[in-house]
Every structure is written in structure tokens, then in C-alpha cells.
Symmetry: C2
Subunit: 190 residues, 2 copies
């Protein structure tokens, strides 16, 4: 046990919860670090003792609050699995998590360190899951083997991410089917 008063784990949790709820429910860019501190019943310094910046807290809140939101089922129909996964991602984008992701992306454009952390902690783990499923689909002979895997994933999920960030069209679950309809004939190995 280290010297001194131990960290208050409950306060830590209150901070992350408050960040998630506030940023997820208010107009984007509208939540200051003071707001989070007040909502968590915590002093600002307590936040800065454990996180290096405002965005770092929010990223933590996002990672914690969105950990299990997009599970990847594994049946013997790879297309169906991807379509189902697209639907979970769409639901997640339309939830508070979607707002938080948008804030993180905004920050990432002007803060390379945040961008790196976002990719490492949020983007890449999900990406790896999708990649594994894609490779399994190739093994199963359901997906062409001659394509660049990163590109295939960019194509599949890029449509969603772009709508999230540009907002040129609404994003609903029918979109999952439409994307699969457009892409799958070109991906399938027959």
C-alpha cells in the first residue's frame, strides 16, 4: 500500500459518469470542465490530478461507457454478421456515445496526441474485431481474398463515420442493409 490518502475510486467513477452523461446529452461543445466537476461533486483539481486534459477525461468516459455497445456476432453467414454489426454501430452513433465521439473527433483534428489516443483506445480495438471477422470470412470462402483488408473496412464503415461527422443525411438502421446491398456483391467470392 502506498503512503498517503488513497485515491477516491468513487469520485473517479462519478467524474466519468458525469462526463458521459453531460457530454452525451447536451449540445456539442457545451460542457466545460467546471460543469463536469460540479456534476460529479468534485473539485476541478481532483480531475486534473488524474487526467491531463479535458478531452482525456471525456475520452475515458467514452471508452468506459461504450465498451460493450457493438458486439460482433459470429454465425456462419459473414454478410449477416456484418450487417448486424453495422446496425449496432448505427445505434451507438445515434446514442449519447455518438455525440461524445463527435466531440473527440473534433478535438482530434487539432490535437495529435488525442487523435493517437482515440485511435489506440477506441478505434483500433473495434477495427481489430472487424478485421478478424473479415479474415474469417475469407477463410470460409465467403469473401474475396484478393482485396486490401483495410480498404474493405474503410469502405464498409466509412459510410457510417462520414454520415456521423458530416451529417448530410440521417443515419438509421435501414442504412445497414443498404450498405451491404451496395458492397456485398463485390466482396463475395463466387
Amino acid at each position: 500500500m502506498p503512503r498517503g490518502r488513497p485515491r477516491d475510486e468513487e469520485a473517479r467513477q462519478r467524474i466519468l459518469d458525469a462526463a458521459f452523461v453531460l457530454v452525451g446529452s447536451r449540445p456539442p461543445g457545451d460542457v466545460s470542465i467546471n460543469d463536469i466537476a460540479a456534476a460529479a461533486n468534485v473539485a476541478k483539481q481532483t480531475i486534473y490530478r488524474w487526467w491531463p486534459s479535458r478531452t482525456a477525461v471525456i475520452l475515458d468516459a467514452l471508452v468506459q461507457g461504450t465498451m460493450q455497445a457493438t458486439p460482433f456476432a459470429e454465425t456462419d453467414d459473414v454478410r449477416a454478421d456484418f450487417e448486424a454489426h453495422l446496425r449496432t454501430v448505427i445505434r451507438m452513433f445515434n446514442s449519447p456515445s455518438g455525440r461524445i465521439i463527435r466531440e473527440m473527433l473534433a478535438g482530434a483534428q487539432t490535437d495529435p496526441a488525442l487523435a493517437e489516443e482515440f485511435r489506440e483506445r477506441f478505434w483500433q480495438p473495434r477495427r481489430d474485431l472487424s478485421l478478424a471477422r473479415l479474415e474469417r470470412g475469407i477463410e470460409l470462402g465467403q469473401i474475396r481474398a484478393d482485396l486490401d483488408a483495410e480498404t474493405v473496412l474503410d469502405v464498409i464503415y466509412g459510410a457510417l463515420w462520414t454520415r456521423l461527422m458530416i451529417g448530410h443525411q440521417p443515419l438509421s438502421s435501414v442504412h445497414a442493409t443498404r450498405i451491404a446491398d451496395a458492397i456485398w456483391p463485390g466482396l463475395s467470392d463466387d
Copy 2:
């Protein structure tokens, strides 16, 4: 002719040029309105007399400086046209315009008015060009007619926009071919 001293059109141009050069060449988020005013040899008030906000100036600079950067050739091979267009977009994303777009997207996440203006003045005009080419491809019998056009464009270009914003992988012109390779077999009408 209206009363009073006429607007200094040269100053207007200097402001837009300075904004384009500065934002396009410096680390993102590193250009203040004072920097632009100084570089353009202009008083800050002169900027705010004509633009409502910092981001509005930069969006104007982007629109003006990127107007003709992604022309859409029309041959009788629709796939080749799209592939060529993807290459021009990639080149544009890797130019100063790309940095400016990233700043605008960052701002758009927290400023709905900017988001709307970005879509209207930058996104939609290009989108309309792509849409027209896509519909022409359908008429020519080179592209399936049963797909949702917006989704097809999301899929084609979303891969690029996502790489621009996430930065998980570099974006070079070989990517244009890879995207076409992955998508076209599913789009072509045969």
C-alpha cells in the same frame, strides 16, 4: 453606388489568401484571428466587419481556394472517371486544403451553423457532381440501377473522408484503385 467609403476588395482578398496559406501550412488549430489579420496587414475589425466568426473566414478561404481542385472528367468509362476523381480528391486531401477541411470539420462538430454552411457551400456542390456522374453511369448501363445513390456515394467517398479524419492509415493515390477494386464488382451492371 452606395454612400461612404467603398469596401477594399484587395484587403478582402488578402484576408482570404492569408487564411488559406496560414491554416493550410501550420499545425491544425494554431492560427488565431490575430495571426490572419497580421498576415493580411489588416485590422481585426476589418475581418469582423465582413465575416461573423473566425471559422466563417476560413470556410470562405477554403471554398475559394479549392474551387477547381477536383474536376470530374466524363469519358465513356464510368469506373475510370470515378477512379480518376478519387485520385484528385486524395491529392486535395493531402494538400493544404486537407488541413483546412479538417479544421472546418472540427468546428462543425460543435457549431451547427458552421456545419450547415460547410455542407451547403463545400460538400453539396461536389456531392451533386458525383451524383450526376453516378446517374449517368446508370443510364449508360454501367452501374446497377437498384441501389440507393446516396449510399453508393457514401461508400465510395466515405473511405477517403474517414481516413482524412481518423488518420488511421496514410492516404495515397493507390488507394483510389483499391477502393474501386473493392466496390466496382458490386456496382457494375452485368
